[in-house]
Symmetry: D2
Subunit: 341 residues, 4 copies
């Protein structure tokens, strides 16, 4: 079986493992207060061009999302996101379990616009019963989105502007951030993201780390006592250095971006190859997730050899599937898949 | 000003006040463990033809909803309702604050169907990532709905059947139950409701009581320890007899239904009068809430004399407003309103 | 049976009922936005000599406590109180259900001292693992306490000072506030309380109202969006005017204090009478709750005629019981009890 | 610096790393549904002699505790533990953040007895206001305790018996389980624990794994939907195999116990060595945590070379410190410490 169903099928980039091996018997402070976490934080703050930022390392994305969101909101406040947002669909109600409503906006491509945010804000503000409704206070976006699309600099800046006007915060879930930043057509970078978001996280789990997400809290007002809430939510790793070590390795010389480019290169090979063969796509994605429309008959055949993610029925005779590349994808497997499709 | 904006503008039916006055200096046990609560429970169980049922009295609807729902669900379970459901829209995220997602179904008339419930259940069950999504476990309906529509016996029985098939519970919010049970075309009664719902509540606040809702827990499995959760959520009234007294008075000889009929009679007078005058309705309601389409110009004029609830823009020149009658509405005010519209 | 077991056995002072009757058919805005609530707020702010304060009316004490506390704290923050505090013992974990730990301090008399608060703060601050522990942020006291004792002006001011020094808030639960303010030896008044507390509430349920507590938020920083949280927790009464009317009546001409004095007068008659008869008290209380040590044999006899609250075993042959007076207690009943004891 | 302050200063046993390296580029299913997790589950169930048990792997202890506890309790139910219990003291209110009170029992040695549990149950049951108090439903113990002490088979069986009699559940936190099972005087094993506990976990983080805890749900009634709650709380690792691999390696041939014995051997060497030198212990521990009373003057000197955990002031001139050994402790470091003390 060759798996294209997700981007976390393998372990980690060999350099990550080497870093763990090399430091294995060192004795360090626990809970992220070691030297490696500090070094990783320094590197990331440098890349973000933000010395005021605070960086915290957590093991996974759901944990990061629920910790960030519950650290920001008061009980009556809600987080606004696309109806397809990960926090709305695939985290078993983690945000609600922390007490907060997820307010959803319609979206065809996984993105939401500044205009939509303004509308939800104005609708709330102008409703005579506003106190009987949750207060939209935080905007959650992911980049790339669940559908592989990416935000432009202009779109992100517009979201920042509307959040400022509405007294709202902006949080970017970067579970696959590397694959977004290395995509064709991308005009974002860490500096621009840090400048426009109150909080965001750089995903490691799906981009070459064994596990781990680096949360960057850019807005100084939101930094207070974050570590308490990490601990409360079960998200403070005892051997925190395991996270620091990995992020240091990922970012000290561009490994993160090199791996991301590899995945994008193969995703584009796949996209172009399938296009040539006449396949249509459910959505136009330049990142590592490709949503292809495939005849159901063909799918039956493919599933003997390949793992993919079934997305939804497209029409009577075909379905949408998701195919992912990652830092670990082998070129030969892509070529084989292209031949078999 | 004459208010038609809601059905809780006035105090209570005079007989309610008399009951309070008459018993005022009696000493009774607190927290609903008095004789009046017991008597009211007995009467209501009789009307429901259910001796196994348990009846609890709470002060308001949001309190009742959040207490019932959080008493039933485990952390990962969600309540399913129409997108217009009161718990989804007008309770400031009370359900989410108890940790549970509200899963919404589209609805034009405020109702949801057995088919929709089955779909949401099957969609969950068949999704490979089902554990990453909240589990639909409880169906919330209101009767009448937020749009004044009512369920038929057949519809309710179908919901019961699908809930049984899917291992789900059915909860009916009866904030305006009297106005539903006395509406033209209604074929439900307390017995049918008790037979088909796991839990429901009979609204007093909007139907002649000073305040109060009577929660009927029909499903014996859901009765355990309910009073603990009432207390925890701040919903156990110290002088619980105030609730028992009111519900005893409302139900001992049909006062509740007499008052409901009064409101329905005037609502139908209003509906027919407006229809004759050429007004159109946003939705066809046979209960005490009427949703009328009114030219914006006319609204400007009306608001000098009348309070109404602005619902939404209908088209460029007109809007939908809600006009409510209640147990307390005066016939002369309806006639005056008809003249002025 | 004559009940001395609590201070909410009867309904309300007749003037409260009269106010309800008189206004019964008036149409007012809902949810506390009516004229009566405004008037009551104005009167209370006047008595507190605080024009910046905000006053909100809720139905009961548990509701008030959980709403206030959850409106103030972030997720990792805890409320500190005496081990006997109502929120710790008798609210079925209402505070924890809102996500917050109740940190308890030992107390023999139901009170806590500034020194204790400072110690809990310093202990937290100086612990190397402080982020692994809940952060003490809010001090909860009640006056009178659960044991009938009261704070002096000096004690309250000291608590204020230590809270300021430690960046903590001070909240006073005044479920029986009238009985405290009218007690022998009391040197507090509403103005002093408002000056020293961030938030407090004036209890109506136990002091002559049918129900109701008036929350006074003195600290402007804590006023934002309080009504949202009231609604979310199910504590916003639809016919809010019922609360405004009662508090207006209680405070417009001193009725609240007159009723409180009545209860205190009879409590002192009871205390002195029992002392003369040789009874000992578990604690010295000058308020409406008296904790008497009674031979178990005597208790057997008393319970034929009187309701009391069993507190705890005192020694092999005797127990502590609580006897309460209230605004509604009849002098003749006290005299009869004294004769029978 | 040589660290004895805790048992998670180093990485993992080399065999753990080797297992990760060897399997690194394999493609497996995510979220714990891979072959390695299945194999590890099978091995653990075998050691527990319980084929009905379910095993789940989580990253850390706080996460495990909050997930297990919130999966078991209804909103009004509380967990009972020693006042020194980890969930009460060092998890930043994680349990309360899930809505549940932690009810504490006094304990000098970190253990609680069946008698104490019975008392807390009877006290609740017999209180007239029982519904106003949280309901004790789950007993939490840790073995070894926070003070290094261990339960005997008899004590554990007695707890089981009392839990059965009271309708309560028993949960054992085994963060340092290996060190308990290999201690002098221990008469427990995995089979006995599985037989007597409803749920327990086997700690990996502190016993040779990089990270990870294996939760064993022995009580079939408590198994339903556990994975949903793992996901909701952010505790379902994407690359779940990392956990399965580690536990397979730890348990396939006794590595876990071999490492535990190493730590105990050195802890006993330390204990005996210090005793010979005249040091006294705060508590008698046979496990890897030793609580020694040390003159403050001596501590000043030691902290130049050694990391230890400051526990508390003992008397004017001396303090209690905690010294830990672990699977990774070097004999030479123990000898050097003994020389320097």
């Amino acid at each position: 079986m060759i798996a294209f169903n997700c981007d976390y099928n393998e372990g980690a980039h060999p350099r990550i493992l080497e870093a763990l091996i090399e430091t294995n018997m060192e004795q360090t402070a626990g809970y992220g207060e070691d030297q490696y976490c500090k070094e990783a934080e320094t590197i990331i703050k440098g890349l973000c061009q933000s010395q005021k930022a605070e960086v915290h390392f957590m093991v996974g994305g759901t944990q990061a999302n629920l910790t960030v969101i519950s650290s920001i909101l008061r009980p009556h406040q809600a987080v606004v996101c696309a109806v397809s947002g990960h926090i709305n669909v695939h985290e078993t109600g983690a945000i609600e379990a922390c007490g907060h409503k997820v307010m959803t906006l319609p979206s065809d491509d996984g993105k939401i616009s500044a205009k939509q945010v303004e509308e939800v804000y104005m609708h709330h503000k102008n409703d005579a019963s506003f106190e009987h409704m949750t207060q939209p206070k935080l905007v959650y976006i992911s980049n790339p989105t669940e559908l592989g699309t990416i935000y432009t600099k202009k779109e992100l800046e517009d979201l920042r502007t509307v959040c400022d006007e509405c007294g709202m915060y902006l949080y970017l879930d970067g579970a696959r951030l590397g694959y977004g930043l290395c995509a064709d057509g991308n005009d974002l970078d860490l500096e621009i993201i840090a400048k426009n978001c109150d909080v965001f996280y750089i995903g490691g789990t799906k981009v070459g780390a064994l596990f781990g997400e680096a949360i960057v809290i850019c807005n100084v007002d939101l930094q207070e006592d974050f570590r308490y809430i990490m601990k409360q939510k079960g998200g403070m790793l005892a051997k925190g250095r395991l996270l620091g070590l990995q992020f240091k390795e990922l970012f000290k010389d561009g490994l993160y971006f090199a791996m991301s480019k590899h995945a994008i290169h193969l995703a584009m090979r796949l996209k172009n190859g399938l296009t040539e063969k006449g396949y249509k796509f459910f959505i136009d994605s330049n990142t590592n997730q490709q949503f292809v429309i495939v005849p159901d008959e063909k799918l039956e055949e493919l599933k003997e050899t390949y793992a993919y993610t079934y997305q939804e029925k497209y029409d009577e005779k075909s379905s949408v599937i998701r195919l992912c590349t990652s830092w670990a994808t082998k070129e030969e497997n892509i070529e084989q898949l292209l031949r078999d499709m």
